[in-house]
Symmetry: D2
Amino acid sequence: MKVSVIGATGYAGAELLRILSNHPEVEVAAITSESHTGTSIAEIYPHLVGFYDKKLTSMNDLDQFADSQAVFIGLPHGHAMAIGRPLAEQGIKVIDLGADYRFHDESIYEAWYKVEHTHRNSGAVYGLTELYRQKIKTASIVGNAGCYTTASILALAPLAKSHLIDTKNIVVDAKSGVSGAGRGLSQNVHMAEMAENLKAYSIAGHRHTPEIEQALQEISGQDSLISFTPHLIPMSRGILSTCYATLQEGVKPEDVDQAFYEMYGQEFFIRLLGRGGYPAVKHTRGSNFCDLGWHIDSRTNRVIVVSAIDNLVKGAAGQAVQNLNVMFGLDEGSGLKQVALYP
Amino acid sequence: MKVSVIGATGYAGAELLRILSNHPEVEVAAITSESHTGTSIAEIYPHLVGFYDKKLTSMNDLDQFADSQAVFIGLPHGHAMAIGRPLAEQGIKVIDLGADYRFHDESIYEAWYKVEHTHRNSGAVYGLTELYRQKIKTASIVGNAGCYTTASILALAPLAKSHLIDTKNIVVDAKSGVSGAGRGLSQNVHMAEMAENLKAYSIAGHRHTPEIEQALQEISGQDSLISFTPHLIPMSRGILSTCYATLQEGVKPEDVDQAFYEMYGQEFFIRLLGRGGYPAVKHTRGSNFCDLGWHIDSRTNRVIVVSAIDNLVKGAAGQAVQNLNVMFGLDEGSGLKQVALYP
Amino acid sequence: MKVSVIGATGYAGAELLRILSNHPEVEVAAITSESHTGTSIAEIYPHLVGFYDKKLTSMNDLDQFADSQAVFIGLPHGHAMAIGRPLAEQGIKVIDLGADYRFHDESIYEAWYKVEHTHRNSGAVYGLTELYRQKIKTASIVGNAGCYTTASILALAPLAKSHLIDTKNIVVDAKSGVSGAGRGLSQNVHMAEMAENLKAYSIAGHRHTPEIEQALQEISGQDSLISFTPHLIPMSRGILSTCYATLQEGVKPEDVDQAFYEMYGQEFFIRLLGRGGYPAVKHTRGSNFCDLGWHIDSRTNRVIVVSAIDNLVKGAAGQAVQNLNVMFGLDEGSGLKQVALYP
Amino acid sequence: MKVSVIGATGYAGAELLRILSNHPEVEVAAITSESHTGTSIAEIYPHLVGFYDKKLTSMNDLDQFADSQAVFIGLPHGHAMAIGRPLAEQGIKVIDLGADYRFHDESIYEAWYKVEHTHRNSGAVYGLTELYRQKIKTASIVGNAGCYTTASILALAPLAKSHLIDTKNIVVDAKSGVSGAGRGLSQNVHMAEMAENLKAYSIAGHRHTPEIEQALQEISGQDSLISFTPHLIPMSRGILSTCYATLQEGVKPEDVDQAFYEMYGQEFFIRLLGRGGYPAVKHTRGSNFCDLGWHIDSRTNRVIVVSAIDNLVKGAAGQAVQNLNVMFGLDEGSGLKQVALYP
């Protein structure tokens, strides 16, 4: 099948190309970039030499997508809606890696992203594969889950679903490598300043907060309220999310274990390290895995769940391909069963 | 004045030597190491060439400390008590960088460290300078505060003291560079495995937990209970502590601000970045500063405080020298007023 | 076909398992380790969970290799000969990732490695695929090329072959990530000490020196003498080799270009960045590519060639699989056409 | 004494402020920046909070320098000449950290820097302290030595002076942390792309080449010709320079040793690790030291010298202060005797 990638020069776009080059069922048709139209993608990303020598086109030429069965969108939020609508209307499946199609209640999107939502009632499905698989199968548009949100929701979903925790009293302390900040230049990502550095940002205001709350509410059927704090870590890739929740009265450690094994026992891309397990981001580097470990703090009656992913794979391009596989009835792991790069 | 350093080959010991070489009032007498007796300290740490060419001695020869007015101890926990007692009995002031003298209730020490406490009722004072300065002035033995604990207690103390938070419902998510794991070798600190890696450890069981709780209880006069999670970060030095506490009813953002400025407004080594401020560990690298910023999350009614220190300076050797200065009536910043190494 | 891996717990062994899991024609039979016999490989390397759950066996049970058509050996030098001989005698193809089978003149091996060579006249072929492909096709034993040597020989071979340089006046300044030092623990690879650090080692005595000289002599038909200096770089993976050679009289820049394009123009795994090109190790990370760029310094009449590889892939496990493919008549890139992990 | 800093917002300027804050004889008067005039320096560099709260001024107001006895200039090349001339004419000593005053033959400067030299015959002295100390004492203008050049010249000077090497056949392979590329933003220094990366740049054309040659010619009285290759290393600070020279006939290892000990035996800031020594940049981090080790490769008749410095200290701001001390008859190490930050 043919697919196209809109907005290919960002890190998520480049990562999509990396993964798709290894996908046995997929051929990449158009690759677009408004800022580098006419340039070869391999000039911008020399690691792609030998795999892609296509010239970047403008997304505004819709004809080029005519023989694509699916189009991935890697644009900044607020820009996917304008191109997503005509593509969907042409019957092309859309997988948006940005935030435009992630919210069921567009007013939440508008409140947090400060942008008018211009493609309401699109029927988009939230693209966190393990939790929304059935709906993704028949979706026309998938709003691929965010990076922090994938790590955090996967960590908390079993507990929320089994009503083991108070979903209104959760702290999510998340840590990301600097590729999460994108390819754009800023003093924040200048290596001289960020090497051997570490800091929090967007406290109490990061836009992944309502996305996590939306998912936990849907899974638990209860209101959810979280304090979410992202941090910048001196490394390229990887997210570790440390999630703290208060256990409901009477919950036993075995109940917690059971919740995880029941929900994820059959999932290939979720590796359960068990109670007492310590995921390390490097074990997921370059792979589509989410590694999970959980701990009971009996002194404080909290459960602490730690999850590790590669922010550009399971947190972006890998999960997008996983969703593609689900949408088209392919083996869900097709093109994705790569071992992490370690050490 | 003369001082000696027992257990000088660990990172805290080496950092003490770095700082003391710049201290105008101090001369280093004996430097000891049981594992490298007879070796020159500069052979082990070539960055000290030009400053120290002393041979390492064994601490068991007590005579060598006779003309030292103070002795720093940089031994693993459980070993400082045996040497601390005879030193104190000889009238030599003791500053222990380990955990042996940090707890007022030795049974807590014994429960968390699994070691019998053999120097009870030593009169030791907890060495977190800004909070215990008055007692440190006249102390014979100071149990220098731990690295994570210094960062975490300084972040929460103003809120605890002013009764603005529920001291029994606190989450402290702390992140440390690998020097915090010590100089010993392990797969955990092998650079090939730890570069571009990130992980939590000792969840619900780290020994700095009761130390933080002890301080918050004394400051607030109320029970304290925290969930403390340390993380290993791919960098050499630095700690960032992200602390989450629930605000008491009716607390206003200005109350929070006031608590910080009242408590720390005159402190040289605590830099208040204010409400909305984001400390970065690199701004404290190699310096004795603790940088603090705080944030109100009105949606969840939490206050989030972020603190940054250099784990080997304010978190160990720097604070030890600060305590020395206080104990001997010197300018508290003597030898410590160095700008951080940035970038 | 079935293959086995002897000495799988080192980094090269683990990398072999990563690559082989993606190889469509290969199934892994036995995985051995003398130090961890009985343990699951995924316990030691959790990134392999989901791909390998085999228990590690002892290599001394030769029967377990009976249905393997080829065996990879990842043992320290001096140990491959003892197991290589019986395997070869049983008609099993051997690919040794160590140094034991790299030298045509065993006395050179003995002089540099200080070990007696006990498997002389083994008929082993030197496993630098692009240069020895024809011989590798029919080899029973391949001595897989070293990491520094692969990068350095590929950089200089076209110039040596075309007699454009003085092969007795070459400087090779090479830089490697710390995984090149192996998985063993030492202060050298302690992250607190090696992060933000950089140093040379084994000057004028590194064992890859005679290996480079051997290849250049064979290619040029002339004596070769190089000064080789390896450096440890604060990163996990990757080698950059900067090679300086004096041009023979009258050599023009176009002659240099032609030498590279003639020799490597059809090679998939060698990417020519051209005259003026600057390879970066990260563009090869996790891939089997060797990127090459060359520069003419007309002031000094030198040509400077820069090559970049991933030390564990093209410098070890990837090239081993490339050799396997050649030995068994498979597509040479089978299992190896993966895009580098960037950023 | 009062001094001022022109162009304080670059890394060298900020480092100057760090060092000067610890200098017992110096008070900083004006701090200028054309791009951030009116901003506080501590807003740009929060690590300076507590030490500097001055507002940045424009350098064009010459009156503000009237009570400064010396002015440091941290401007891009080509800009120091315009301000250096009027300052010198007012009798203010000038220490330029850029290239404008480094060349005795301005035509070499013009050829390599592509800028007209507008302050010829300025009487400027080259500011590599250990080699030009006598002239620096009475200089009005000092052209502070470059970072790569300081490391490389100090490595080769004893051999050039003692005529032990062929000064026309030298290879200098140098490696620098990314702060050497300055504070400006570029994809090259984006941490996501530069972490775990490594590359060469400016081969056969880097502007530090003629600066090294000039010094070696003056020291040896012979022509000098070098191939100089700089590399970008994934770390913030530090330079390692690996220098290869061919020994003259009959030179013995002891002659090499003697050359180093004779020239540098009494130098505090040059630490001789001896024949066989391996400098590591981290041992010099934040300090003004240059660590040197040398090796004889008898097979190739080469001497290989390795030198390590902190590019922002001995390679820029530290040496500038060292030169200030010499110019004003202060203790040469005043403000500079700080132990490196290790680990």
